[in-house]
Amino acid sequence: MVRRLAIPIGKEQGATLVVWLVALGITAVFLWLLSNVIWQGGQAVNGTFLTQAPAKAGLEGGIAPILVSTGLVLGVCMGVSLPLGLGTAVFLSEFNPQRSHRVIRLSLDILAGVPSIVFGLFGNAFFSKVLDLGFSILSGGLTLACMVLPILIRSIQVGLVNVPREYRQAAAALGLSRLGTLKTLILPAALPGIAVGVLLGIGRAIAETAALIFTSGYVDRMPTSLLDSGRVLSIHIFDLAMNIPGGEQNAYGTALVLVILLILINTLVSWLAERFRQSKLQIL
């Protein structure tokens, strides 16, 4: 026993051991977290969880209005940010003289890194108060739109930039118009990259909590218009976990629903990314 331990472990073997241990450790912790969510959440989620309104501050009933509010907030967010983001990204990469690119890129990087609570501050002051939208799905969605806009622009830009330079060069050498090149070559080639960017934006928006507390509020009833306050999934989790004694179970249930939604989005992202990679390989 002792002898065997005394055998000096070489640098290579030592490194292999450490790397495997780290990977196993991380896997264990993350599986712990995931199994916790799945196990606890699985007990809360049943047939009616998705179709009922919450009762007794969420201790009983389900999350139907919360799902609807989440969908509406997301819809407002993407409905506003997508056209703006797409248009801006296309303009910046295809039409703008590249001189200003560094400044724009830097500003977008900064804005993409700004804490979401800061957007929450802005949304509360501007949409809820100055524009008088109050606590409403509309002001929440618009706040999120501001938040995801830089992310969208940046990732769509990356998608466009990753289109091989040769296409543009070849098209230019043939004297083709920029619009024709854009429509026939660049956008189709960049489409998977753009889709990835859009889904990243959705993923970010659907998980957001801090920016929504002071904008869309947390009324847990079925919204009847975009001017109603609506509670999104993540706020419901937060509220159940923090403020409701005995709320953990349903918090986990809601978390499970949210995680499954995100997995669906994630799968879509990696599926598209994979197709993107393959199409790129084909080009090479």
Partner: protein
């Protein structure tokens, strides 16, 4: 790997005498970096000129000024004039200029579309919309580059599924379809295996007379086989310079400049 059958060139029919290309005091800089400076030269109409010189001496940059492709690089600044016959290219709108001056790149770069659309798309963009007319042009040019028999049954297949040599010939056909008068080629064979390059080389020779052709090549053997004239570039003080310009005969056998002599004698291939 199979040697394609070549049909006789059919393009001569609708071509007049191509223009000569003349540059005066041409210089190009990328920001601070001067790619090449003060180049004066006249490239003879209907002849093949080979541009040779070590890596980084500005051959690619020089070519790109002739169809104003350098304008794609934001920080590139051009000085001096380029004339087609006696027409200053700066005064020609981009679209007709680039239609007149075709270009072939080092790496075959077909669009990620079908073989057919690779040729049809630029034609449509240039206002040729009649389907039978397009089809006719496609068949003629593909025949010219010896690709028609190889691809006529799979025109809808993606262009990227062709082999390297076939892709390069497709790119040549794409340029020829627009009926240019000048052809710029930047190391058109360097990415290809010896058999494919032979095919392209033969094609270039066959295009002589119909087009004014400028070819950049690293391969001195190739230059000596195909070129009428040779332009030799070299980097001096970090700036590309045209050191010597003359007939291929002259440059390869009696170079005037000692640099040229050293470079072409380094040729052993």
């Amino acid at each position: 790997m199979t040697s394609p059958t070549l049909s006789p060139p059919s393009l001569t029919a609708d071509h007049h005498q191509p223009p000569s290309v003349r540059v005066e005091q041409l210089s190009l800089r990328y920001g601070r970096k001067v790619a090449f400076a003060n180049v004066d030269a006249q490239f003879r109409a209907g002849q093949i000129t080979a541009l040779i010189g070590p890596s980084g001496c500005g051959k690619t940059s020089f070519l790109s000024c002739l169809n104003r492709l350098h304008e794609l690089t934001p920080k590139a600044q051009l000085f001096g004039q380029v004339y087609l016959n006696d027409c200053d290219t700066a005064t020609i709108p981009l679209t007709p200029l680039r239609r007149q001056v075709g270009m072939l790149f080092q790496k075959p770069n077909p669009f990620p579309l079908s073989i057919y659309r690779n040729l049809a798309f630029p034609l449509k963009e240039h206002g040729i919309c009649d389907r039978t007319h397009i089809h006719h042009i496609i068949e003629t040019t593909l025949t010219d580059v010896g690709l028609w028999t190889e691809v006529k049954d799979r025109l809808k297949a993606p262009a990227l599924s062709l082999s390297g040599g076939q892709q390069q010939r497709l790119c040549l056909a794409r340029a020829l379809a627009l009926k240019p008068q000048v052809l710029l080629m930047d190391e058109p064979c360097s990415a290809l295996d010896p058999l494919s390059s032979e095919v392209i080389e033969d094609l270039i020779v066959r295009l002589k007379g119909t087009y004014t052709i400028l070819v950049v090549t690293h391969n001195l053997g190739q230059a000596s086989r195909i070129a009428d004239d040779v332009a030799f570039f070299w980097v001096q003080h970090d700036v590309g310079q045209l050191i010597e310009f003359g007939s291929a005969q002259e440059i390869f056998t009696h170079p005037q400049d000692p640099l040229t002599a050293a470079y072409v004698s380094g040729r052993r291939g």
